[in-house]
């Protein structure tokens, strides 16, 4: 199959119309023709007829389809904006229609695991790096697309849709993907940085969720700004070490997707991860919280995966380890805070 037209006349594809997907689709629509994919017929109809998706307004020029085939045939550049829980499923749905010429950029912060038969994420004790996949690795494994990138950074959908200034990172091993991402997304209100360390950028976005839970917990305990500063700085050190151990570069943690996103999330009452930590500190158990949350806070899974990984790799990550004990082993928040305060962090910064 050869595409006859250049991507300037080809629409840009967006898969997923959640809050972030909608915000990105609207930004793309400022410059390009956009086609979105939604799984349900009624959502597609809603978009095409009323230009809203589950109540969120969409640019009137945006067309919707529920056929992965149509989307892939029409678009050369695709943005995957699906929640991490559905990522694998959606990727597999699109896999038969994805070609090596497609550029795929995803905006999903999460990790997937490949477990040995008979294991489950709740009970798994050991995870090797080869069993853990970032979202770009999922795409590479499941589809023929190779020119893959990711979007990460402090991008709260609500603020983006209000048109407030913000920035993002497009990370990819391929300059071509970065340039295409910048070309499509950049506007007066939206700055787009490039980074070739896609794994490091993806990991930054994922690992910061752990620290966000801890930040929520500190807020829930009623602690002040000193404690938050302490946590963010120690959190960055831990993220850098974990990112290195998982194949990213420590320097990406210092960028928009790391520090940038971390600071935003640690101050945001809207973050699910932050809320989870907050409610934990207020005395609720994980079960109680999860029952009343409509979507799982991604950080819970991340803590599980990273904890199993560090035990296998033989490295230490005190914040993650303690959160794991709080979430799954009945350690109280106060006790874990005590533990962290006594933990012998002897050097301030030891990863640059």
């Amino acid at each position: 199959m050869t595409l006859k037209n250049s991507s300037k006349t080809n629409p840009v594809g967006v898969i997923g119309v959640g809050s972030f997907g909608t915000a990105v689709a609207n930004m793309l629509a400022e410059k390009s023709e956009v086609m979105v994919y939604a799984r349900k017929q009624e959502v597609v109809d809603e978009i095409n007829a009323q230009h809203t998706a589950s109540g969120r307004s969409l640019d009137p020029s945006i067309r919707a389809t529920f056929s992965p085939e149509e989307l892939c045939e029409s678009c050369a550049v695709l943005f995957f904006m699906v929640p991490s829980a559905a990522f694998l499923e959606v990727t597999r749905l699109f896999a038969p229609h994805l070609h090596p010429y497609h550029l795929v950029i995803h905006g999903t912060k999460g990790l997937a695991v490949q477990l040995d038969p008979g294991e489950a994420l709740d009970t798994v004790k050991k995870l090797r790096r080869s069993q853990i996949l970032t979202m770009s690795e999922v795409i590479l494994q499941e589809t023929l697309a190779v020119r893959v990138g990711c979007l990460a950074g402090p991008n709260i959908s609500k603020e983006l849709s209000l048109g407030q200034p913000a920035a993002t990172v497009v990370a990819s091993k391929y300059n071509e993907v970065i340039q295409q991402g910048q070309h499509l997304l950049r506007s007066e209100r939206f700055q787009v940085y490039g980074n070739s360390d896609i794994i490091g950028v993806e990991l930054s976005g994922v690992l910061k969720n752990i620290i966000a839970i801890a930040a929520g917990a500190l807020a829930g305990l009623g602690l002040g700004e000193n404690a938050k500063g302490l946590l963010i700085s120690r959190g960055i050190v831990e993220m850098a070490h974990l990112s290195k151990a998982l194949g990213g570069s420590a320097s990406s943690v210092m960028g928009l997707a790391g520090v940038g996103d971390l600071v935003t999330t640690c101050n945001s009452q809207d973050s699910r991860n932050f809320t989870l930590g907050y409610r934990l500190a207020k005395g609720e158990t994980l079960e109680q919280i999860l029952q009343t949350m409509d979507e799982v806070a991604e950080g819970v899974n991340t803590v599980r995966i990273v904890d199993a990984f560090i035990k296998t790799a033989g490295i230490r990550a005190p914040i993650t380890e303690n959160l794991h004990r709080v979430l799954f082993e009945d350690l109280s928040i106060e006790e874990s805070l005590q533990f962290l305060m006594k933990y012998p962090f002897s050097v301030d910064v030891d990863f640059v």
Partner: protein
């Protein structure tokens, strides 16, 4: 279990030698060299951003390095006029330096003229000197000579010398996707990428290709091999072009890459040793030299650009592993490796395969005593690492058709993006390493060496390799029973991986363990003056040369078998 290797000789795919791409290339040698020189020149100018000052600097660096090389590391094969040539370049450069009044474009032109001289010389140097008559003669000599030696040694009786009971194919077993490679040779251009442990490899592969009825391949052979007259003859006959590893300057490297790329585009089946050089450590290559490999990707893209990427313009990558019980150069290789990793700064390219006499002695030993070699031919892939089917179509993991051209398409057409191609080259490199591990055929000797070394290491946990090899021989004894259980553990793991298709094992590994061990001990590094592994009087195991044991042990590195100890 019976060995399942190729016992018959295949009919040639292209019986008429005039149809061989190498012969066509040899006919057009002059034009081809000219083209390579010109394209290299363009390429270098492009790389240096058309800047006369940068070009000047690069020329001066090249001149300096070449003069240094001539002085410090001269070889027999070096042409006599080398000194004069570089003197001339030097005076050209000095003259240009004096002419300050020239405009920027004029200066660029003037320096480019000097560059042209260099790339032309390099292209001429690299180019192969294939002669079909020499090729046929060599092939006959190799096959006839070797099989005489073999039968003389194995078949008893007066007439044994003329017996045909054993052929070379019993000695050197060819397994794997032999039919596929034959099919594909008529459908596209093949790039063969074998593991590299011994200087014998190039001749071995040349012979194997002729057994399979393939037309001769061209390949880059280390120039040091041309120092030895016997090798030089063989190499030229087999279509080798010359790679001089002493020359590490940009101009040489770019000319070499251009040569390789153009030859592939010409339709010449090619062979690269992707490890770049023989594996010093005995470990299967895990980091590949990507320079030449990248030329396969470039050539494929260029073919797509010209619109002939399908059919004959498609390039197939075929990994090959060569499995030995014994590597003649092992003592020197491992010494090099240890001194390199031991942070010894200076390390000179040397060649222990130094005289025709030594090689002859080795060949005599090899054929008169039993030490088998097996060559496994892997599944063919496209340049992106997708397997291809019998028709040469790429298939993804799920068997769906893949259009390789689409990897090079952006905004609807094939584009040149060197950064993208660099990434693709890395991906291809990784896929080749993966395939090497899958088709690697474990021999009894690899198993025993691996287990013995791991047991010795486990007993001296605080020591690294460098400490270990300094241990006095009396201190190294491995209990036979312990050794045997260790072998069984590793073998079980090997078979477990084999069922998953992640490794291959020689049929002799299906015998009872005591037989496997005996076979392994008999064969491991069998012709070395100091044997890597022997049994002492008490029946336990010891070594005469631990670094050699380490070398043979390394063959099973990369499968995580170490965790069993």
């Amino acid at each position: 279990m019976e060995e399942n290797y190729i016992k018959h000789q295949y009919a040639p795919i292209l019986p008429k030698k005039d149809e061989w791409p190498v012969v066509k290339l040899a006919r057009e040698r002059k034009e081809f060299i000219l083209k390579v020189a010109e394209l290299s020149e363009e390429r270098i100018i492009g790389l240096l951003g058309k800047n006369p000052d940068v070009l000047k600097e690069e020329l001066e660096t090249t001149l300096y390095r070449e003069k240094l090389r001539i002085k410090q590391n001269p070889w027999d094969v070096d042409p006599d006029d080398e000194v004069d040539f570089w003197k001339e370049i030097k005076s050209n450069l000095l003259q240009l330096h004096a002419e300050v009044a020239l405009s920027k474009t004029k200066r660029l032109d003037a320096y480019q003229a000097v560059l042209k001289k260099i790339t032309s010389r390099y292209a001429e140097e690299i180019s192969s000197n294939f002669k079909a008559s020499h090729y046929k003669f060599t092939r006959r000599v190799v096959t006839y000579g070797f099989s005489r030696l073999l039968n003389a040694a194995r078949v008893k009786g007066f007439t044994s010398f003329f017996s045909n009971q054993y052929t070379l194919q019993d000695k050197i077993q060819i397994t794997g996707q032999t039919d596929q490679i034959r099919d594909l040779a008529t459908k596209g251009t093949i790039v063969l990428v074998p593991t590299h442990f011994s200087n014998l490899d190039s001749i071995l592969i040349g012979w194997i290709l002729s057994v399979l009825g393939m037309p001769p391949f061209i390949y880059g052979a280390g120039l040091n091999l041309f120092n030895i007259s016997i090798f030089a003859y063989f190499m030229n006959a087999l279509g080798a072009y010359k790679v001089d590893r002493r020359k590490k300057n940009l101009m040489y490297i770019e000319t070499l890459k251009t040569y390789s790329k153009e030859a592939i585009q010409f339709g010449c089946h090619s062979l690269f040793f992707p490890g770049g050089t023989r594996s010093r450590s005995g470990i299967i290559e895990s980091k590949l030299k990507l320079g030449l490999l990248g030329t396969a990707i470039e050539a494929q893209r260029a073919n797509f650009q010209k619109g002939n990427g399908e059919g004959l313009g498609k390039i197939f990558i075929v990994p090959v592993t060569i499995n030995y019980h014994f590597v003649l150069e092992a003592p020197v290789l491992i010494r090099d490796y240890l001194s390199m990793t031991g942070q010894e700064r200076y390390y000179k390219e040397n060649d222990e395969f130094s005289t025709s006499y030594k090689i002859f002695k080795f060949l005599l030993k090899f054929f008169t005593k039993g030490s088998d070699i097996s060559v496994s031919i892997g599944k063919a892939m496209d340049v992106m690492g997708n397997y291809v089917d019998q028709e040469g179509n790429s298939r993804d993991k799920w068997g769906r058709l893949v259009d390789t051209r689409e990897y090079f398409v952006s905004e609807g057409k094939v584009t040149v993006d060197s950064q993208r191609e660099e990434e693709y080259t890395q991906m291809l490199g990784k896929r080749i390493v993966e395939e090497f591990h899958k088709i690697n055929r474990v021999f009894s000797s690899h198993l025993v060496a691996f287990v013995a070394f791991e047991l010795i290491k486990a007993k001296n946990q605080k020591m690294d390799v460098f400490d270990l090899i300094r241990l006095p021989q009396e201190d190294i004894v491995v209990d036979y029973q312990e050794f045997k259980t260790g072998c069984q553990r590793v073998l079980d793991e090997i078979f477990a991986l084999k069922t998953k298709g992640k490794i291959d094992a020689a049929p002799h590994l299906f015998k009872p363990m005591d037989d496997i061990i005996a076979h392994g001990l008999e064969n491991v590094g069998m012709y070395h003056a100091k044997r890597p592994l022997i049994r002492d009087e008490a029946g336990n195991l010891t070594t005469e040369d631990l670094s050699l044991l380490y070398f043979y042990h390394n063959r099973l590195h990369g499968y995580d078998f170490e965790k069993l100890f």
